[in-house]
Every structure is written in C-alpha cells, then in structure tokens.
C-alpha cells in the first residue's frame, strides 16, 4: 500500500476530533487570530454523532469562550431545578440528605443538555468563524518528520474491502499537515494512545490511568412522571459494594429523561456484564415506576476516563498537544468532563497562538494548565475515586470527610493501584452471575439496543478491531476468563462460537456492531485488542440524543 499517491493539505493547526475540547481549541484560535488556518477532522458522519454524554453541563468554560452564548440560540435551555442522591437496595431507596452531599455533587446553576447538540452548535459557530470541519474523516495515522516531531495526520482510506483490496469507490486517505496537531479524540483516542507510548508522556504519573464505561438511554416518559430539570444520582444495587459505579437520571426537555449508568472498568469478576447491570438497574421499583408507559428512544455507551490528576500525562510533545478526555481531564466525583475538556482546549489555543505567532514553546502548556481552575478542580477531586478501592461505604465516608470538611485539600494523594485490564480474577475463582431475562418493555437484548444507536459500518471493509495475537482468545482468554469481551462490549461485537472445522471455541468479531466506546481496547486482560478507526462516517448516530 505504500506506493499509493496521497494528496497533501497544509494548515496552521490540525485538530483531531470535534468534541467539546477540539471545538473549543478551534474557536479560541480563530478568536485570537482570524488568519490562522484550522482544520478539524471528525470520524462521525456529522459533528455530534459520536458524542454520548449525560449531560449536566457546567457553563464555566463556555462563559469564557462565548460569553454571550445565552443570546445565540444555543441548545442550553434546561436549568437544574432539583436534585437528589440515592442509595439503592434491591427493593428500597434511601435519600442521602443534601446537607451531607459534598459540593461536587451539587448542580445548582448547571444545565441539562444534549452534549451532542451542543457540539453541533459549537461546530456551526466554529465554521462561521472560518474553521474547516470535515465530518466523516477519521485521522487514522500520525505523521512524523525525521526528528520524530508530529507534523500532522493521515486520513483513513475509504473503499477498501475486507482484505484491504480497493473497491470501485476506493479513495485513498490524504496527508494533512499542520504546524501544530491537536489530539482531542476523547477518552482512549487511538492516536492519543500512540503518542502516550511514543513520547513516554505518562512516565511521571504516579498512577496508571483509570476508566469506566457509561451507558445512556433516552426515554420519553409519561408527563405525570416527568419533572423538568430534575437530576438524580444513585449508588448501590445492583452493583456489589466492591464495584465502583452508579446511575444518573436527568429530566430533559420534551418529556425525555436521560437515564444512564457508569461502572468502573476496574471491576474484578469476569462474569460481570456492565450492560446487564444497567438493564437490571432499570427493574428497581423506583425506576420501573418512572419508566412505566414510556418509550425508549435511544441507546449508547462510551468509556470515560476517570484517573484524574494522579493519572494525567504530560499534555505536550514535539509538534502536538493532547487535550480533553484524550489526556484525561474529567472530574470523576462530578462525572463531568465537558467543561474541563473545553477549558483544556481553550488553554491549548492560547499556547498554540503563542507558539505560531510568538515562537513560544508548546511546553508552556504545563504551567498554563497548572495555573488554571481546571487544575485546581482536579486537585480537589483527586482522592475520591481511589478511595473506592476500600469498598462503597468506607469510600463514601472518606469522600464525605475529604470533600465536605477538608474541601479536597487533605495533605496526601491516594493512588490507583492497577490498570483496569489487570483487575480481572480467573473465571474459575469468580462467582458466576445470572442476569434476569429481558422483558422487552424495560429491559432489552443487546441487538435491540444496538439498533437504537443507529450504528453501522459498510460491511465489506477491513476489520477495525485488531487482535495482536489472533488465537489468544482460543488458546487462553476463553479458558482463563471465559472471554469477558462477550460481556464488557456493550454492542455484542464479540461472540464465542464453536468452530466445527477446528473443533474449538473461537472469538467472532462482529465489527459492524461497534459503537466506538473503546472498552475492549481498555479492558482486554492481555491488551490483545486494538481499536483503530474504521472507514470514516461509520459508527453510531447519537445526533439529537
């Protein structure tokens, strides 16, 4: 394939990913210097189509970026009006009095929004400033010069068949070069992963990175059950107390609720199925009542980056910056990463502008970031997630003290012990979990859910889920862990099948189902699965959700 002729385009700045982070960089750059040429690549078929998020939105960063957003017809309409935090047992729920709630869990002044719609709006805002956004184009490779400096990206080839042979409509990817490349792919970006390794960006971290998987369904519910602006969170049932996670439920416009669940990917039992925990959660009497007579209208899942400050890598490297959730700027106790991602993007723009126009180094990013409110916010939040290694109750007590009494300023930093892929125990030693059958009313099988995500990939294209060792599952993972991919993948991509010819169990990959959540890339116990970009435009359609 190396002899393919590739066209080349040149920009001042190339941004990978039109999420809150990348779009904030693009907008801020144009505000600082309208003459800069800026290109944003987005693998989704339109801006926002791959954005899956709660979302309770803190406007702090947006206020800085576009101070008059309120008069610009932005899709930010629903203020948080009430909130509660619940502790669930199988049949009961206990309200944690607001008095005891740490400030990070309070949402007064925030808004319930569709982050997908906000990104679409930010995208249009950026285009009006002259930013060139190309949806449907994935950045598949990084380009380096001889000094190993990042000089841009290559877009993915389109129209290859599954054996990499060009089809009628073959269109080779092109090289897009920039003075600076910004990686803002969101959680577990595959180029981000490459630079972390190549430039050793996480060598100074005290803790390995931590992730979670988040699910979200949108339901249109009975108007009697709907309380516009209400925000609820819960912990407890159905998760065992040694698993980090909980639910969210936001009452948005049009009688819709955003119902979701987040589970730490450091769970230990290979039989745990995050998808089924979420489905089961919906059968709690409180939730069942809420959903009664309602209709599910969308489904999606996406990994979240949860390591926080102690896992945050160096965010600059020769020729490039790594920002937002691609680096790990999410505030875990708040489960909010949009405003921090945006702020990290705004800072990036300032640094890049200084770099291009005043010859300053990209390494300025470090100090600018440290002096910003994001850093302070992440510093205060840093001990919450690691305290959950002690179990739910002690962690909640600790968090109460840490956040409420000490305001996150305790003079020590708890560390995350393991990377998520190291946490599984062998299947033999694990307790089997049987989940209830789906009723087709409140709980649904995976194919039905995936259907609502709108995901699709042209079928005759190279598989985008690469196995480093293609027989590892057959020879090892199926035996040792009963192939957990069957359960952690929220889209039914992985199935274990009995191969009649080999007379063995084999791993089957339905890559067409993939909803780009990146969980397999994170959780596979031997790190055997590598997620790479499929043909641009493929994947879920979360537009409007």
């Amino acid at each position: 394939m190396s002899e393919v002729q590739r066209e080349e385009l040149n920009y001042d700045v190339v941004i990978v990913g039109a999420g809150p982070a990348g779009l904030s960089t693009a907008i801020k750059l144009k505000q600082l210097d309208t003459n800069l040429s800026i290109c944003v690549l987005e693998k989704a078929s339109e801006v926002g189509a791959h954005i899956l998020s709660g979302n309770v939105f803190e406007t702090k960063a947006l206020d800085e970026l576009i101070p008059n957003w309120k008069v610009l017809n932005s899709p930010i309409n629903t203020s948080v009006t009430s909130e509660d935090f619940l502790f669930y047992t199988k049949t009961k729920s206990m309200k944690v009095p607001n008095l005891f709630l740490p400030n990070v869990l309070k949402n007064h002044g925030n808004y319930i929004i569709s982050l997908s719609n906000l990104c679409k709006w930010l995208g249009e805002f950026a285009e009006n400033l002259g930013v060139e956004i190309f949806p449907g184009f994935a950045a598949s490779k990084l380009l380096y010069d001889n000094d190993q400096k990042v000089i841009g990206v290559q877009t993915g080839d389109m129209g290859l068949d599954k054996n990499f042979k060009p089809k009628d409509n073959y269109e080779p990817g092109i090289n897009i070069k920039g003075k600076v490349t910004v990686l803002s792919e969101g959680c577990r970006g595959h180029l981000g992963k490459e630079v972390l390794k190549k430039f050793n960006l996480d060598s100074n971290n005290k803790s390995p990175q931590q992730y979670g998987i988040g699910f979200k369904e949108i339901w249109e519910i009975n108007s009697e059950n709907h309380q516009l602006g209400k925000v609820s969170h819960s912990v407890g049932w159905p998760l065992e107390s040694d698993t980090y996670g909980g639910s969210f439920c936001y009452h948005a416009e049009n009688n819709q609720i955003y119902l979701g669940y987040v589970i730490g990917l450091d769970y230990k039992n290979p039989y745990l199925s995050p998808y089924d925990e979420f489905q089961q959660f919906k059968t709690h009497p409180d939730i069942k009542k809420l959903l009664e007579g309602g209709k599910r209208i969308s489904y999606g899942a996406r990994a979240l980056i949860e390591g926080g400050l102690q896992s945050l890598p160096q965010m600059y490297m020769p020729g490039a910056l790594l920002i937002g959730c691609d680096a790990g700027t999410l505030n875990m106790p708040k489960i909010k990463g949009s405003h921090t991602a945006m702020k990290s993007g705004i800072i990036a723009a300032e640094v890049i502008n200084d770099h291009i126009n005043s010859n300053k180094e990209l390494s300025e990013y470090e100090s600018k970031f440290k002096n910003s409110w994001v850093y302070e916010e992440l510093y205060k939040a840093r001990n919450v997630k690691p305290s959950f290694q002690w179990g739910l109750i002690p962690a909640m007590i600790f968090t109460g003290l840490d956040q409420k009494i000490f305001g996150g300023k305790l003079p020590f930093t708890l560390q995350h012990k393991h990377a998520d892929h190291e946490s599984l125990i062998p299947a033999k030693k694990a307790k089997k979990i049987t989940y209830p059958k789906y009723d087709g009313v409140i709980t649904f099988d995976k194919p039905s859910s995936v259907y609502l995500s709108g995901t699709n990939h042209a079928d005759d294209q190279p598989n985008h889920l690469l196995l480093n060792d293609k027989d590892l599952s057959t020879n090892f993972t199926i035996e040792k862990y009963d192939e957990p991919a069957q359960r952690y993948c929220p889209a039914g991509v992985y199935e274990v099948e009995f191969d009649n010819d080999l007379q063995k169990k084999v791993l089957k990959i339905n890559s067409q189902n993939c909803i780009h959540c990146k969980t397999c890339d994170i959780k596979e116990p031997s790190q055997n699965i590598e997620w790479v970009t499929p043909e641009g435009g493929g994947g879920p359609i979360y537009s409007g959700t």
């Binding site: 066209e7 385009l9 078929s45 339109e46 189509a49 569709s114 719609n117 679409k120 060139e132 190309f134 184009f137 877009t155 389109m158 129209g159 089809k167 009628d168 409509n169 269109e171 092109i174 897009i176 249109e220 009688n255 209208i297 259907y451 609502l452 709108g454 699709n456 359609i541 537009s543 409007g544």
Partner: protein, 249 residues
C-alpha cells in the same frame, strides 16, 4: 451534452425512524440528514458521463429549505459542476416537484435528466415519470445500466420479472436504481473545492406554480407490531396448518 441531476435531502437511511408522539409526522429535528441514496447513483452516473467525455456540463438541482445546500455541496464534491437550490419552506408533492424541475429544465435545457427512482422518506416513486410526461421526453425508470452512443440511449431497467432492455433517444428522463453504480466518496480536497463552486438560489414563489398540497396527512402512526401466533406441537401439525389454515403451500 448537458446533464441535470435532481437531488433530495432526506433523513439518513441509517437513522432509526421515530414517529412523533403527537402523530403529526416523523421526527426530523436534530436528525442526521443526507442525500437520498438513489440520487447518489444519479450523481455518480452524471460524473461518469463527464469523465467519459460524453457530458460537458453537469448540474444538480434541489428543492427544499436552506439546509438543502448541504446535499448540493455534496453533489459538487462528488463532481457536479454547479448547483441550483429552489428554495421552498414547504415540502412539495411529486407533481409540484416535477413542475418546478420542468421550469428549471426549460431554462437550463439539459439533454439528459437523471434522478433517483424513489425518495426514501415519502416513498412516492413518481417524480421522474411525471417529469418525463410533462416534458414529453422518453422515460426510463429504475435503470441499472446506461449506455449512450451518438444520441442513442440504451438502458436496462430493473423490473419485478427481471430486466428489461430499451432503446431510446435524447433528451430523456432516467431514474436510477441502486444497482446502477457504486457512488464515489467525496474526497476531502474535493469537498473543499465544492465550497467554491457556484450555487444559485431561486425562490420557488417566483416560479408561479401551484405548490399547495393536494393530499392532507391526517396522522402518522408506528407500524403495528406483529403479534405472536401459535406454537405447533410437531411437524405434521405445522404442515397441515400451512396447507389448510394459512393456505400458503
């Protein structure tokens, strides 16, 4: 030869259609929109004709609101030379669409009109046929093959029984089946070039045609869900039921 392609902006075929809860229609707010799939085949065929040197100018026309500019830009990124947007806030019925196109065609005088066989939103499958009748030009519907030689047009049409081959002449109106070709991807440099290609806007009110709806939509509902039938005890019962109850074998 000059070729005109008609393009419609529709809900993307991958989007799961959702009927509005007040039954007034289908949800299109914040829904991903795209070029109507068979229209892409029409665009592709036009671009091919140009590449083969048979066409010297290829233009696209869309009737719709401002957002329909998107699909025209897409067509230009695929290779169309220039576009015309006939701006209309209301959705038109096929007869009105055809009348609108006729006015544009009378002005542009193309030798060939290519369009998709059917729009995947209202599934009418009429516009090409109506247009051909209004223009009194030969009609070729659902084509899966096209050859043009010295003003002679050879087409293969996809019909229920198989394939029908016809010979006709220019000017003509042809509607395209998905099997006609594989539409190309718009490359990134071509998308950029398309942003600079000419796009003319005409207000539909200036054309003096009757665009009012002749058909009123009373309500739109979800398709009724299929219900479970019966379980049979054995093969014998199954075959008997199929033969004598359902009468399908």
């Amino acid at each position: 030869m000059k070729v005109l392609v008609a393009v419609k902006r529709v809900v993307d075929y991958k989007v799961q259609i959702r009927v509005k809860s007040d039954n007034s229609g289908v949800e299109t707010q914040n829904v991903k929109m795209s070029v109507n799939p068979p229209d892409e085949n029409a665009i592709e065929e036009a671009v091919k004709l140009k590449e083969q040197g048979l066409a010297n100018e290829i233009i696209s026309v869309s009737i719709g609101d401002d957002k329909s500019q998107d699909v025209l830009r897409t067509s230009m990124a695929m290779g169309i030379d220039r576009s015309i947007l006939v701006k209309s806030q209301n959705t038109l019925e096929p007869l009105a669409v055809a009348k609108t196109l006729k006015i544009i065609i009378d002005k542009e005088k193309p030798d060939l009109v290519l369009m998709g066989k059917q729009a995947i939103d209202d599934d009418s499958n009429q516009t090409g046929q109506i247009l051909s009748a209004l223009l009194n030009w030969p009609q070729g519907c659902f084509i899966s093959n096209l050859k043009i030689e010295n003003n002679k047009v050879f087409i293969s049409r996809e019909i229920d029984e198989g394939i029908e081959n016809l010979e006709t002449s220019l000017p003509a109106v042809l509607t395209c089946d998905l099997r006609l070709n594989t539409p190309r991807f718009a490359s990134l440099p071509n998308i950029m070039k398309a942003k600079k290609k000419p796009l003319e806007t005409i207000d539909i009110d200036t054309l003096g045609i009757d665009t009012s709806s002749k058909i009123k939509t009373l309500k739109v509902i979800e398709p009724p869900k299929r219900k479970a039938g019966i379980m049979v005890n054995d093969v014998k019962e199954l075959v008997q039921k199929l033969k004598y109850e359902a009468k399908v074998i």
